[in-house]
């Protein structure tokens, strides 16, 4: 579930408020958006993909709260790692062009 909105990275564009399909975030008048409905997070990682500032972190645990530490996440390269993997963001190319599902299917039909 979503565990972090980094106040130092967030540029207050409120993209996460717009794109979250289950309405987890809420815009705040003078600050970054807040995680208003944590329990409604379905761990789909879409907010991370749409965050232009790599300010969000969705922990893979779907049911339990995970304790996270921003500095450590940054150090381990996990802030924005999903966005990097799919090739979204300035100067990157979508990795959909490198999709190797055809190879996976070939193995499956063996």
């Amino acid at each position: 579930m979503i565990e972090l909105i980094s106040p130092t990275r967030c540029i207050r564009c409120n993209q996460c408020v717009s794109v979250c399909p289950t309405g987890v975030f809420e815009a705040a008048p003078d600050g970054p958006p807040v995680i208003a409905r944590h329990e409604d997070c379905q761990t789909c990682f879409m907010c991370e993909l749409y965050c232009p500032a790599d300010a969000l972190y969705v922990a893979p645990q779907a049911e339990e709260h995970a304790i996270v530490d921003e500095d450590r996440l940054a150090e381990e390269g996990l802030l924005g790692s999903y966005r990097k993997n799919v090739g979204w963001g300035r100067g990157r190319k979508s990795t959909a062009a490198k999709d190797e599902m055809h190879i996976v299917f070939r193995y499956m039909n063996h």
């Binding site: 979250c20 399909p21 379905q42 761990t43 893979p60 645990q61 979508s94 990795t95 599902m101």
Partner: protein, 539 residues
């Protein structure tokens, strides 16, 4: 709430739901010249099961031999309930639409033979592109505008009303035709991307008088790491499954062996390791499904060398095949002005009773969306200028199913009803393995919950949309289990422990419907259709 100023709009076609089916429906209706509004409970582009996932597509070149093979592939598994004419139509439309995606700029990869490979779509990329195209076609998108109920008059469906989630302001959209593209129902199980899929469209359609079909084919559970939402059963074809002590579970597998896993999970944890994947395949898997590895990478698990606990996460009708009954090639329902597309509609027409998961559902979404969009636009045209100005009434007024929250102590909270419904549909020993006694006891409880919620629900968390979701999930579970009880055989994904064989006398599709009284009965048209087909014995 009703005192607040209401957003009022008129349009030819209203599309409810902004996943792939809704997006394709909106584009196709707009191309027919209709004015179109698309409302989504969340955000068109991220909502639903497609956006966060890797999606196979039933894309088959128009080569007679390849097409024949494609049509045959699931016929037996589906219990011979599919319809070849529909398969042909869907294969044709899917081929066209996927090629359209290429023209629109979807970056299809090039395979080892140097040709553009079009059987796989990356969800985030695909749905971002669809949103862009929907807008380009002049469709007005209203995000975070869940529909709560339909409007209708004596001529049929005439729009919908709902709420703006961010302002709590109500909206009312009058339309000459409505397309339900709200997806299936996974009962808030957190299977990837499915928590917006709570059966809302089934309830709205049933309130208008539409039938459902194939609701017994609702036993889909997907393999996932026990801690995670990432449901991707296909990759587990390269897994070995283990008991806690590290010994191999004989017979366990991602396909036919999934029942062994289900049975084991009833008493103890199951572990998996993707140890059948060589280096080339490991690389391909990473490039095919980046989010599959996200969960592992973040927890420091190497799924190819480490054993990790797995679970079966319920996917209900999202990867089942049941849904709103389709009456003709325009995906019209029984109710004038009401159309259904995608997982909200029955997918038995192309997959029978076996999961539409993977390629078939993706193909069905883009094709049925396309057909419904065209059908709805034409319907609007026949109604003329007055089609969207009819002073119709909201249907919950006559059905008495609550469409708002009541702030009254003593009434149950939405969360209580939802948890109680989940307790009847999640357990493997009720839903994966079905038998008369458990189906009956679940139905008793579900009918009781239905009567309880009809007296009104509180929404203590302030989320009034949950009122309709709770009602929709309760109704869906009842349609599922009444159908499951009526089909006294094992066919497709519907497994009856007390009737383990397929019964040639039940070679028909099963309809269901009703709200306070639920009924199930053989589809008379499918009787006729299958009458001259000799049923082959399966497996």
């Amino acid at each position: 709430m009703s005192k607040q100023e209401e957003l009022r709009l008129q349009t030819d076609v209203l599309v409810i739901g902004g996943g792939p089916a809704g997006a394709w429906a909106a584009i196709s209706a707009a191309q027919e010249g209709a004015s179109v509004i698309l409302v989504d409970k969340g955000y068109c582009g991220t909502s639903g099961a497609t956006a966060p996932s890797g999606n196979g597509v039933w894309y088959v070149k128009p080569d007679p031999e390849e097409r024949e093979k494609a049509m045959q592939s699931r016929e037996g598994m589906g219990g011979f309930l599919a319809d070849r004419e529909w398969m042909k139509r869907v294969l044709d439309q899917t081929y066209d639409n996927v090629n359209r995606l290429a023209l629109w700029g979807y970056p299809f990869p090039v395979d080892e033979f140097g040709s553009s490979y079009r059987k796989s779509l990356q969800g985030p990329e695909y749905m971002k592109l669809m949103r862009k195209q929907v807008k380009k076609h002049g469709v007005r998108i209203l995000d975070h505008h869940p529909a709560l109920e339909l409007l209708a008059d004596s001529h049929g469906v005439a729009g919908a009303r709902g709420i703006n989630r961010s302002t709590s302001k109500p909206w009312r959209i009058e339309a000459a035709a409505v397309i339900i593209a709200t997806g299936g129902c996974a009962f808030l199980s957190k299977a990837l991307g499915t928590n917006v899929l709570t059966g809302d469209g089934y309830l709205m359609a049933a309130e208008a008088g539409a039938d459902l079909s194939g609701m017994e084919f609702s036993t889909a559970y997907s393999l996932a790491p026990a801690f995670s939402s990432i449901t991707k059963s296909a990759f587990y074809s390269f897994a070995t499954f283990y008991y806690e002590d590290g010994t191999v579970i004989e017979g366990a597998g991602s396909q036919r062996g999934r029942s062994v896993i289900a049975r084991t999970l009833l008493t103890q944890p199951v572990y998996a390791r993707l140890d059948k994947a060589d280096e080339l395949l490991q690389r391909a898997m990473r490039l095919a499904q980046p989010n599959f590895f996200l969960a592992f990478d973040r927890l420091g698990i190497n799924p190819f060398t480490d054993r990790f606990p797995v679970t079966l996460r319920y996917e209900g009708t999202v990867r089942g095949t049941g849904g709103i009954r389709i009456m003709n090639e325009h995906c019209a329902t029984k109710v004038p002005g009401l159309f259904a597309a995608g997982d909200a509609a029955t997918r038995e027409l192309i997959c029978g009773g076996f999961t539409g998961g993977g390629s078939h559902n993706a193909a069905w979404a883009m094709s049925s969306g396309w057909f419904a969009g065209r059908g709805a636009a034409r319907h609007a045209r026949t109604l003329g200028a007055l089609g969207s100005r009819r002073n119709a009434r909201a249907l919950s007024e006559s059905t008495g199913i609550p469409a708002r929250a009541f702030d009254q102590p003593g009434l149950p909270d939405t969360s209580e009803i939802i948890r109680a419904v989940q307790d009847e549909v999640f357990p493997l020993d009720r839903n994966w393995f079905r038998r008369e006694s458990t189906l009956r006891s679940s139905l008793n409880q579900l009918h009781r919950l239905w009567h309880q919620l009809k007296n009104g629900l509180q929404a203590r968390d302030g989320n009034v949309v949950r009122v309709r979701e709770a009602a929709a999930m309760t109704a869906t579970a009842r349609w599922m289990y009444v159908s499951g009880l009526a089909r006294t055989e094992t066919r497709g994904m519907h497994r009856r422990d007390d009737f383990p064989a397929q019964d040639p006398a039940q070679h028909y599709r099963l309809l269901t419907g009703g709200l306070d009284q639920i009924w199930a009965a053989p589809d008379p048209t499918s009787f006729k259709q299958f009458a001259n087909l000799k049923e082959e014995s399966v497996q």
